[in-house]
C-alpha cells in the first residue's frame, strides 16, 4: 500500500485497520518490513479503545464469514475427469514434448482436451465420442477393418507420434453387435497387448476441431492445432484404459476388445465367468488361507507343581493371540482344531474382563477371585487379573477419521458388520472429532463429508446409508479418502484413514507403485492408514495382493468377526499406545501351608518345555495403557490347615504373609521414562503392588460372571485338547459356564464363543470315540 496513513492517524474506518485485524496486507508476517508496521500499529491500537473494539468486530465477522464459506458444499472432480488429467500427464512423460500451453489457448472451448472433458462426462461421453470417431475412422482409413465381421460400433484410433508407444483402442459403443465367440475373446485377451502395430497416423494434421466437442459444437474450425493432439487423444484414451482402475474383469474386457472388436453382453458374461470363479467367494484370500499352515509344535500344558518345592510362579504378560481365531476357523469349517492349536492362556486373554481401574498412583491394579474349580471341586481355581491404567481420554488429541469402505457387492453380512462397528466407533468419538465416510466403488461416492462428531445423528445416518457399490477400485478410493482427511487435518492430532476391505481386492499390478507412493507421502504428512480386512482370518498380510504395499507406517489388521472389527476400529482411535509401566514382573508365591500343588493353566512356552522346572521370568515387560492380562491357576489345597507339611519352603512361606493366605501376589514395575536425562533407570525406583489372597471355600456357581466365563474358556480349551487335567469336565458344564458368564457382552464376543462351544460340542460328541480330530 502506498503511503498508508500512520497508525496514529487511524480511525475505526481506516482500511488499514481491517488489514491489521486480518493480519494481512502490510501486516502479513511474511511480507518484508512487517515488524515495523506491526509495532507501530500495535502501539497506536493499544492507546485507542474504539480501534480495539473495531478490530474485535472485524475479526468476529471475518471468522463468521470464513466459517460459513468453508461450510459451503464441496465438489470434487469426478474420477473420470481426474483420471483424464493424470493420463494426460503420463502421456506427456512418454515423449510428447511439453508445451507452454495446451490445445488452443485462444479458444479454450475448442482445445482437444475439451473433447476429453466431454468424453469423460458420464453416460453420453463414450457413445458420442465413439460415434464421432467412428465416422472419422471410416472416412479416413480404408485399411480398416481387416477382421471378419467388422463392427460398426467400434472405432479404432491409431496414434503414431514420436513416442514409441503406438496405441489402438476400441470403444464399444453398441454392445448388441454380433461378436466373435467368447473363447476367441479370452484367448486374445491373454496374448494381445494393448499396443497395436504402428500404423501411419492418418489423423495427423487433421484439425482437432473435427474431434473436439461433439457435445457443444460451435461449428468453428480452428486451423492447425498442435499436431500432437489427435495422437495424444488416442494415446490418452488408451492410457486411461491401461492405467485406469477398472476392476480386473473389466480390464480383461478392454484388453480383448482391443483386438476383437466388440463384446456382446453374452460374450462379456462368458468372459466374466471365465475371469472369475463361479463362486463369488474371495479367491485370493481363500487360496492363501487354506494353504497348509506350518504345523504347530506339540505343546504341553504346564503340569502341577508342588508348592513346597516350587512355591513361586509367574505368568506371561504378553500372551499371543492366534489360537482362538485358528480354533474358530477350524470349527467354522466343520473340523475340530488340532490340539496343538489350543493354547489355554491365549484363549483366556482373547477376551476382556471387567477389572477395576487402578487408583492412586499405581499404574496397574490387580484383582483376584477364588472359587472351587468347576471340574475338580476339591481344587480351587484362582483367577488373577491385572489392569493397566487406561489412556487418558481427556488428553487425547482430536481425531480426524476417514473411513473408506471397499466391500465387494454381495457381502451384505460384512457390510452390516462394518456398519455395526462404525456405529460403535461413532460412540467412541467425542465432539471435537470428525468422521468422513466414503465408498470405494465405481462412483467413489462420498457418503459423509468430514463431519463433526457433535452431529452424531448425521454420522449414524451416514453409516446407515453405506452400500457396496460394485467392485472396489483401491487406489482411486484411497486417494479420495486422503483428500477428505486433508480437509480436516489436525496438526499433531489423530489423522487416520481406515480402509475396510473384504479380501476381494481387485486392482492392476501397476497400481502398487502408485499406492506405495501415495501411502508413504500421506504417512509423512501425518495421515496414517489402517487397513482392516473384514472376514479375513488370521493375519491380513499374507492375504494381501501383490500390489498392496508393505505396511510401513500403516497398520494392517484383520477381523474375522464383527467384534474383532470393532476392537480394531477402537484401537485406531487411540494415539500411539502409551506405556504406563516398565520392567513389570509378576510374582505369585503360594503358601505351602495352604497349597499342596498348583498349576498355571497355560501351555508350556517353548523355552520352558526344555527346562520344565524353571518357569520363564517375564522381566522387563512393558505394559501399555488400558491393557489387561488374565491368568488362571488351579490349586490343590492342603488337606488340613496345620503346618505339618511346611518343609523346605518354610522361609518363603513366612514371606508369603499371613499363614491363612492362599497366595501372595506381587507386581513389580518401574514408571516409564519421560525422556528426560534424569529419568535413567536408576533414578526411577522399582515399585511394587502386593496383595495377599485369602483362601475361600465357595462353589463356582457363586462366582462372578467374569469368573465363570474365564473358567468356560479355559474349560473349552481343556475339552478340545482332551486334557489329562480336565477332571470331570463335560461339554455341558462348559456350556453352562459360558451361558452363565455372558455378562453384558457389549461387543458380542462372548455370544460368539457360546456358538463355538455348541459347535465344538456337536462335532466332538458326534465323532467316533477314539478318533483323532482331523487337522
Amino acid at each position: 500500500m502506498k503511503s498508508p496513513p500512520s497508525p496514529a492517524d487511524w480511525t475505526p474506518d481506516s482500511l488499514e485497520l481491517t488489514a491489521f485485524a486480518l493480519k494481512d496486507g502490510p501486516f502479513d508476517p511474511s511480507v518484508p518490513g512487517w515488524a515495523e508496521h506491526q509495532a507501530a500499529a500495535e502501539q497506536a491500537v493499544a492507546r485507542s479503545v474504539p480501534l480495539r473494539a473495531e478490530i474485535g468486530e472485524i475479526r468476529r465477522v471475518a471468522d463468521d464469514i470464513e466459517t460459513d464459506l468453508t461450510r459451503e458444499a464441496i465438489h470434487r472432480l469426478s474420477a473420470d475427469r481426474r483420471e483424464a488429467v493424470l493420463a494426460y500427464a503420463r502421456n506427456l512423460g512418454r515423449g510428447v514434448p511439453r508445451r507452454s500451453s495446451v490445445g488452443s489457448s485462444q479458444n479454450g472451448d475448442s482445445g482437444w482436451h475439451r473433447f476429453w472433458s466431454v468424453l469423460t462426462r458420464p453416460a453420453m461421453g463414450y457413445s458420442l465420442a465413439a460415434a464421432t470417431a467412428l465416422s472419422i475412422g471410416l472416412a479416413l482409413w480404408s485399411g480398416w477393418p481387416s477382421e471378419p465381421g467388422p463392427s460398426p460400433a467400434v472405432a479404432v484410433f491409431s496414434g503414431g507420434s514420436n513416442a514409441p508407444t503406438e496405441v489402438a483402442l476400441s470403444i464399444s459403443a453398441d454392445r448388441s453387435t454380433p461378436t466373435p465367440t467368447p473363447t476367441q475373446a479370452t484367448a486374445t485377451a491373454a496374448d494381445a497387448p494393448l499396443i497395436a502395430q504402428p500404423r501411419e497416423n492418418i489423423l495427423r494434421g487433421e484439425s482437432p476441431r473435427a474431434w473436439g466437442s461433439p457435445g457443444r459444437s460451435t461449428g468453428v474450425s480452428t486451423p492447425s492445432e498442435s499436431p500432437e493432439s489427435p495422437a495424444s487423444v488416442a494415446a490418452l484414451v488408451a492410457q486411461v484404459k491401461r492405467y485406469g482402475l477398472a476392476p480386473s474383469a473389466d480390464s480383461a474386457d478392454v484388453l480383448s476388445g482391443s483386438v476383437t472388436p466388440a463384446a456382446s453382453p453374452a460374450a462379456e458374461l462368458a468372459q466374466k465367468s471365465q475371469a472369475r470363479p463361479a463362486t463369488p467367494a474371495t479367491p485370493a484370500i481363500q487360496a492363501k488361507t487354506s494353504a497348509p499352515r506350518p504345523r504347530a509344535q506339540t505343546t504341553r500344558e504346564i503340569p502341577f507343581q508342588s508348592a513346597a518345592t516350587t512355591p513361586r510362579s509367574t505368568f506371561s504378560l504378553k500372551p499371543g493371540n492366534t489360537s482362538y481365531p485358528q480354533i474358530r476357523k477350524a470349527l467354522q469349517e466343520g473340523q475340530l482344531p488340532s490340539p496343538d492349536a489350543v493354547r489355554l492362556e491365549e484363549l483366556l486373554n482373547y477376551f476382556s474382563y471387567d477389572y477395576p481401574a487402578p487408583s492412586g498412583s499405581d499404574p496397574v491394579s490387580a484383582q483376584v477371585e477364588v472359587a472351587d474349580s468347576p471340574w475338580s471341586p476339591d481344587h480351587r481355581l484362582v483367577k488373577i487379573g491385572l489392569q493397566a491404567r487406561p489412556a487418558p481420554t481427556a488428553g487425547r488429541p482430536r481425531a480426524n477419521m476417514v473411513v473408506l469402505v471397499g466391500l465387494s457387492p454381495g457381502s451384505s453380512a460384512r457390510l452390516s458388520w462394518a456398519q455395526r462397528s462404525l456405529q460403535a466407533l461413532i460412540e467412541a468419538l467425542d465432539e471435537r472429532d470428525s468422521l468422513a465416510l466414503l465408498i470405494d466403488g465405481p462412483q467413489g461416492r462420498i457418503i459423509l463429508p468430514p463431519t463433526a462428531a457433535a452431529d452424531r445423528g448425521i454420522l449414524i445416518r451416514g453409516v446407515g446409508a453405506l452400500r457396496a457399490e460394485g467392485a472396489p477400485r483401491g487406489l482411486e478410493g484411497l486417494r479420495r479418502a486422503y483428500a477428505l482427511a486433508d480437509q480436516r487435518h489436525v496438526p499433531g492430532g489423530i489423522n487416520r484413514v481406515v480402509w475396510i476391505v473384504d479380501g476381494e481386492f481387485s486392482a492392476e499390478a501397476g497400481t502398487r507403485q502408485a499406492l506405495e507412493l501415495l501411502i508413504r507421502e500421506q504417512t509423512e504428512w501425518g495421515v496414517l492408514l489402517s487397513v482392516l480386512g473384514l472376514g479375513v482370518e488370521g493375519s491380513l498380510e499374507p492375504s494381501l495382493p501383490p500390489w498392496m504395499p508393505p505396511p510401513g507406517g500403516s497398520t494392517y489388521a484383520s477381523a474375522a468377526t464383527p467384534a474383532e472389527a470393532l476392537s480394531v476400529l477402537r484401537r485406531e482411535l487411540q494415539p500411539t499406545p502409551t506405556t504406563v509401566a516398565e520392567n513389570v514382573t509378576v510374582d505369585v508365591r503360594f503358601n505351602p501351608a495352604r497349597v499342596d500343588q498348583w498349576r498355571l493353566l497355560s501351555q508350556e512356552s517353548r523355552e520352558s518345555a526344555t527346562a520344565p522346572k524353571v518357569l520363564p521370568t517375564h522381566s522387563g515387560v512393558q505394559i501399555d495403557a488400558g491393557r489387561s492380562i488374565t491368568a488362571l491357576y488351579e490349586i490343590v489345597p492342603t488337606r488340613s490347615t496345620d503346618s505339618t507339611r511346611i518343609g523346605s519352603g518354610s522361609e518363603l512361606a513366612a514371606s508369603a504373609g499371613s499363614s491363612s493366605d492362599l497366595l501372595n501376589l506381587e507386581v513389580g514395575y518401574r514408571s516409564p521414562a519421560n525422556g528426560r536425562v534424569q529419568d535413567s533407570a536408576e533414578n526411577r525406583p522399582s515399585r511394587s503392588l502386593q496383595m495377599g489372597v485369602a483362601d475361600v471355600t465357595r462353589s463356582s456357581d457363586a462366582a462372578t460372571a467374569d469368573y465363570k466365563f474365564a473358567a468356560a474358556v479355559v474349560g473349552y480349551g481343556l475339552m478340545l485338547r482332551d486334557s489329562p487335567f480336565k477332571g470331570d469336565l463335560t461339554w455341558e458344564k462348559v456350556q453352562t459356564l459360558a451361558e452363565d458368564g455372558q455378562g453384558p457382552d457389549r461387543e458380542g464376543y462372548r455370544a460368539e464363543f457360546l456358538q463355538l462351544v455348541r459347535k465344538a460340542r456337536g462335532l466332538q460328541d458326534g465323532s467316533v470315540p477314539g478318533l483323532k480330530p482331523r487337522e
Binding site: T18, V85, L86, G93, R94, G108
Partner: protein, 194 residues
C-alpha cells in the same frame, strides 16, 4: 516399455499433478463456480486448469502453485464469459445455492438460516467484492496473492475487503431486529477464533 529414468520422471510429474488436484480441486471448483455459476462449467474450468498444469515444471511453480491455479481458472472463466456473452451472464452461484431465498428477517437464531443469510448477503455485494471475500476467506489467499490473481493493487484489494466486511456487518445487523445478531452469531461458532 520406457527407460526407467523417463518413467520415474513421469511418475513424479503425475504424482505432482495428482497431489495438486487432491489438495486444490475442491477450492478451485468452489471458486470457479462462484465465477461461472453452474457446476459442470466450473468442473470444466478446473479440469482444464489441471490439463495446463500437466505441462508445467513443478520447480517453476514452487511456492506459487495456488495463485497460479487460481489465475488459470480465473482467466478461463473470463474467456468463458466472453464466449457465452450471448447467454445471460450466470448470476452468482450463491443465488441458486441458497434456494433463491431473500433474507428472512426472523432467522436470527437459527444456525442454518444464519448461514443462508450470510450467503445471500454475499450475493448482494458487487462481484469484485464478492470475489475478493471468497478468495480471502474461503481460499485463504493473502492480499498479495489476490492482488496477483486479480491484477488489482494490494491497496485496492484491501479496500474491497474492508468495504465488503463493513457492508456485510451493517446488512447483517440490519437484518436482525430482535436479538442481538452479534450475540447469536458468536454463539454459533464458539470456537471459531482458534
Amino acid at each position: 516399455m520406457n527407460p526407467s529414468s523417463t518413467s520415474n520422471q513421469t511418475l513424479e510429474q503425475v504424482e505432482w499433478v495428482r497431489v495438486s488436484m487432491e489438495r486444490h480441486e475442491a477450492e478451485l471448483i468452489r471458486y470457479a463456480r462462484s465465477l461461472v455459476g453452474d457446476l459442470p462449467s466450473a468442473e470444466d474450468l478446473v479440469q482444464d486448469a489441471f490439463f495446463k498444469l500437466c505441462k508445467q515444471e513443478p520447480e517453476s511453480l514452487q511456492g506459487r502453485l495456488v495463485p497460479w491455479l487460481f489465475t488459470v481458472v480465473r482467466n478461463q472463466a473470463m474467456d468463458h464469459h466472453r464466449r457465452d456473452s450471448r447467454r445471460p451472464r450466470a448470476a452468482e452461484a450463491e443465488a441458486s445455492e441458497v434456494a433463491g431465498s431473500s433474507p428472512t428477517p426472523s432467522a436470527s437464531a437459527q444456525a442454518r438460516d444464519d448461514i443462508r443469510n450470510l450467503m445471500s448477503l454475499l450475493t448482494t455485494l458487487p462481484p469484485n467484492q464478492r470475489e475478493v471475500v471468497r478468495l480471502k476467506f474461503q481460499n485463504q489467499l493473502s492480499y498479495r496473492e489476490i492482488s496477483q490473481l486479480t491484477r488489482l493493487s494490494e491497496t485496492n484489494v484491501g479496500f474491497l475487503l474492508h468495504t465488503a466486511l463493513k457492508t456485510l456487518r451493517q446488512r447483517f445487523e440490519g437484518l436482525d431486529t430482535g436479538l442481538g445478531v452479534s450475540k447469536a452469531r458468536s454463539n454459533l461458532h464458539p470456537s471459531s477464533p482458534q
